[in-house]
């Protein structure tokens, strides 16, 4: 089972867990609607697009409303700390939340009690909390953007707003140096997918791939297109690809969807997400070897 965990920007949205479905333009869990917009909604939508294409079981989601005050974050993490060993997901992707180091520490302890080793992915606030608490080794995949890569490289920073200027100033060409620093200080997950002008896939400290095509610079301005990459890589590892393969295909798919969408800085992420089915149909077999014939036979 795949579990996606994150806050949604709806003030009174209660802590809810269930299988995610799509109705019209909205995501629906237990009868409650989540917009597929920037944040956890975009991440879930992208994961669902890949999972639907691959005809896999739809993910479970654990979500709570939080607009920055932390209440939903705390409810979500306390529930997960208590229940994760019973849920025992194969893949668990942690996303938007208020970064609270103590909660992340307790969650990583709880995950150790799962019947099976969960493949752990973190992005956004969950990645900030894991790094700040020195718990990067609890995770298999981090998906930072270039600025967040500087945060992982700075051993003293507890948030990307407080990173050393010389690290933030670094050009994307210096990503390998930031990656090396992050691994040196044990602040990197086993695999990093660094999202930027060039996407870097790093496995155990070694850069195994650079993805630069197609080049769609406007994607950086489109809120939620980092979230969609995280959703895609989560879905592809759930489908059985190795993490580095999943990361490469996620990066390529996201860029191609941006190209199909003819993205400008004014593009909404929903428009990019709506391109994924066409991207998979045209390229996924070629990129991954996961091929479907007409009629759904693999």
């Amino acid at each position: 089972m795949m579990l996606i965990v994150g806050t949604v920007p709806i003030r009174d949205f209660p802590l809810t867990m269930g299988r995610i479905t799509v109705e019209g333009e909205d995501l629906v869990v237990d009868g409650r609607r989540i917009p597929p917009a920037q944040g956890t909604g975009a991440m879930i939508s992208a994961a669902l697009a890949a999972i639907d294409y691959l005809k896999l079981e739809a993910p479970q989601v654990l979500v709570a409303g939080d607009i920055g005050q932390g209440k939903g974050t705390r409810e979500m993490y306390e529930y997960l700390i208590d229940k994760v060993s019973d849920i025992s997901p194969q893949v668990m992707a942690l996303h938007y939340c208020l970064p609270v180091m103590a909660l992340m520490r307790r969650l990583c302890e709880s995950v150790q009690r799962c019947r099976q080793k969960a493949l752990m992915i973190a992005d956004a606030g969950s990645m900030y909390a894991a790094k700040a608490a020195g718990l990067a080794s609890c995770f298999d995949i981090f998906t930072p953007d270039a600025a967040e890569m500087a945060f992982l490289a700075d051993p003293d920073a507890t948030h990307p707003a407080y990173i050393a200027r010389h690290l933030f100033d670094a050009d994307i060409d210096r990503t390998p140096a930031l990656v090396a620093a992050a691994y040196q200080h044990k602040n990197a997950a086993r695999l990093l997918l660094v999202k930027g002008t060039v996407d870097y896939v790093v496995d155990g400290g070694d850069v195994v791939a650079r993805v630069a095509e197609p080049d769609v610079p406007a994607l950086e301005a489109v809120g939620g297109t980092g979230d969609t990459i995280t959703g895609l890589v989560s879905a592809f590892v759930y489908a059985g690809l190795k993490p580095h393969e999943a990361a490469i295909i996620a990066a390529r798919s996201n860029r191609m969807a941006g190209k199909f969408a003819e993205a400008s800085p004014a593009t909404r992420v929903q428009h990019v997400i709506s391109q994924f089915q066409a991207v998979f149909k045209e390229y996924l077999c070629q990129w991954s070897g996961v091929c479907y014939e007409v009629g759904g036979q693999q």
């Binding site: 920037q38 920055g68 705390r74 529930y79 967040e148 200027r165 980092g226 800085p265």
Partner: protein, 179 residues
Amino acid sequence: MPFFGRKKSSFEGGGLVLFEDVEDAMRAEKVLKEADYAVKLVAPPPELRAGCDLALEVNLVEQPGIERALKEKHAPYVRVAPLRAGTSPLLEIVKATDFGGQVMVKAGNMKLSFDKNSGVIVNVSGGGCPDIPYLHSELVDKKLTEAPRPRDIGFTLCALMLDRALEESLVLWQGGGQR
């Protein structure tokens, strides 16, 4: 079905609120606890001591919300600082990228894009704090001059960086002769 998590305080630090005297520290502790923030009275390290030998440990990412709560209750404090020795000062770097019809302004890991002709905010990206998707919905499609300030309605350091991006966007927009 919805679940209702048990109420359990889960304090986490990373930041210090510094004070001139002990009375201010005690007052701030009361104000922040009433506002449901997790806080702890601690002795500040010598290099951060600003006046008194009492400080409040707070979750640094909540700095903007904490400062706003203290100001609203007129609770005096000197400043909020990262607790960890060696931490760099708050990032002040702002960069702008011209896409032709739109400009993207980047402050830290937060990016705000606006239309050069209309001054309307067309996108917000970056950041991983829970108030950013909320701020995205509050800011996008509004004119720079009419949008709410992230520092006024957000709660985290991500919101503070987005506010800097908005501030710089206003300068660029108004510097172009627009109002």
